[in-house]
């Protein structure tokens, strides 16, 4: 199984069901369009750490960074997302193991796919 297969399987097995669940519960992570009821669209800054965060050596590892993401979700009561973490860790391991996306290889993406970067 390639890492791409793993990502595709994750999409089918975890991501789509969560999307359906969110739709049923009317859960949205962001707004898709204008909202006439709002006076302004300025929001409080989104940051984990007032803009800067130091990592210890272990905290730099991919596993630890996903754990940090889990903690961030937990703080925001987004527990449905934390259930994705084991599967995301599997994909991460597969990607780092097969070297298909090493830092020195040219990016496999077109350069304007903002949501992906």
């Amino acid at each position: 199984m390639t890492s791409t297969d793993g990502a595709a399987r994750f999409y089918a097995d975890y991501l789509l069901p969560l999307k359906r669940s969110n739709d049923r519960r009317d859960v949205h992570y962001f707004s898709a369009g204008p909202d006439r009821t709002k006076d302004s669209y300025w929001e409080s800054p989104t940051s984990r750490s007032s803009g800067i965060r130091v990592l210890d050596r272990d905290g730099c590892k991919g596993t630890a960074l996903l754990d940090q993401l889990g903690a961030y979700w937990t703080e925001r009561n987004q527990s449905q997302l934390t259930k994705l973490l084991p599967a995301l860790e599997e994909i991460r391991k597969a990607l780092s193991g097969n070297g298909s996306a090493g830092e020195d290889s040219p990016a496999p993406l077109t350069d304007f796919v903002y949501p992906l970067h």
Partner: protein, 607 residues
Amino acid sequence: MKTVIGISGLYHDSAAAAVRGNDILAAAQEERFSRTKHDPRFPRLALDYCLAQAGGRDAVGAYAFYEDTVLSFDRVLKNAIESAPGTETIWPMAAASQLGQKLALPARLAEQGAAVFLVDHHMSHAASAFYPSPYADAAIVVIDGIGEWASSTIAHGQDNRILSLSQISYPHSLGLLFSAFTHHCGLRVNSGEYKLMGLAPYGQPRYVQRALDHLIDLRDDGSLRLNTEYFGFMTSDKMTNEAFERLMGCPRREPESMLTIEYMDIAASCQAIIDEVVLRIARQALKITGSHNLCLAGGVALNCVTNGKLLKNLSEMKGIWIQPAAGDAGGALGAALHVAHTAWNEPRQADGRRDGQKGSLLGPEYSPEEIEQALQAAGVLYHRPANTTEHVERVARALVDGLIVGRFDGRMEFGPRALGNRSIIADPRRPDGQTHINLRIKYRESWRPFAPVVLADRVSEYFELDRESPYMLLVADVRENLRHSVDWGNFRNGDSDMMKVLNQPRSTLPSITHVDYSARVQTVDAERNPAFHQLLAQFDTLTGCPVLINTSFNQRGEPIVCEPADAVRCFINTGIDLLAIGPFLAFKADQSAEIRAKEGKISYDLD
């Protein structure tokens, strides 16, 4: 005192920077070394350069990455979920980029043996704008495509602290809107925005109301939301979709195809919207911070037309400073500065007058021996004038004689603009100068104007500008008494031949005057770049004109030259008449038939 190394990358324009205390030691984009334009890869070569400038790895106390990779992945994943099932195709690519590359980066930095910091993307930009600025207190505005979640940010800088105050969040983004119009006009996202800005003066902004009615909900305070039904970027690798094309009434222009009046009008409309939104955001930033100074960064801050409008329209603003590397490359510098000032509490020196960017001459320089080696290796005939004065006189005389000069001297510029040290320069008074250089050197669309470089103390004689513009980030109009009228003929009624307009001398400096009489002004002073200042002064002595054309030393699709061999190659391959490289001069007319036959043999992918 330890050095902080800043890193940006894994999206586009990766870069590295080295900072010690308040001092910027070095900064460079990876593309200059790798010779891959907008290189997104880990900036290994730029890092090596910065480490060498810093005194090696042992001198480094911390590495700073310009983004919180955890929050970026949070956005990517939530976008994939929110926009499902449309994201099925792009998700595997996103996973590879995020989980495979970005989450692996901090561990790679930790292997270097120093502390690792993650600095939020917009904080990195804000830091790049505020800390090198001359101001102790300033409102900071960051506008780009997207950071982790923020697409626009207002922050307040005071002494050595920056406080982020408010943001506009993904997917609502002025930068993405700018890119959508760029994409629709057949130009490349992340680099074509600059061309779209240059195209705008040919059109009329007749799509503005349509855009405000359907694409964007803009509030008085500059905050905005996009109507995402018209955009493709959330679910595909396209910025726009069919709904956007229907709204505009024309399909996406095929790249390199003829530009028709519709696309010129769309470009003009886009520029008008950018101008208005940035003006409102800047006004809001000054209002809520109570500051009279403004610092700008983020890719949108490279829109020097908009920056010029801010100068004209913000009467409450006293000072403006824009980071020359306002795009993602500058994030490397900002991340490093933010660690130095915030985590290590290094003091700033802000005297209200001079900035700390060092003219943005932060890249590598080469010795006469290294330069001579490159000339000899290429078989180029050259000579070395007896002294600097003779060298300057020869180059100035060549410019007066109408020669196109490739100038390579001192440290390379950091940021997308060449500011004299890696520049092609020429006499701006030549009526056909714009077309001449575009066709012989740049091999690019000839509708884009060149920038003028002018002696700082003479700028007001030629341009409607009352201050310096050392980083070519302000557009100002050519003075009215220098202008000639332009006959637009039947341009808007079927004959949209840009060359007919372009080939009319629009001022006494036709090569640097756009069709709307605007110019992207760079000022030069003796403090920031004494050698370039001396050359310009000599040209002024010979001609009475303290202005030159300044365009980047490269041909289309190629990164700006970095090392001597790059400059020699570009000299051989293009119509540059004189290569002024370090203390040496090489005239094309002196070269052998074998060398001259090599002109035009190397081409690059079009950007």
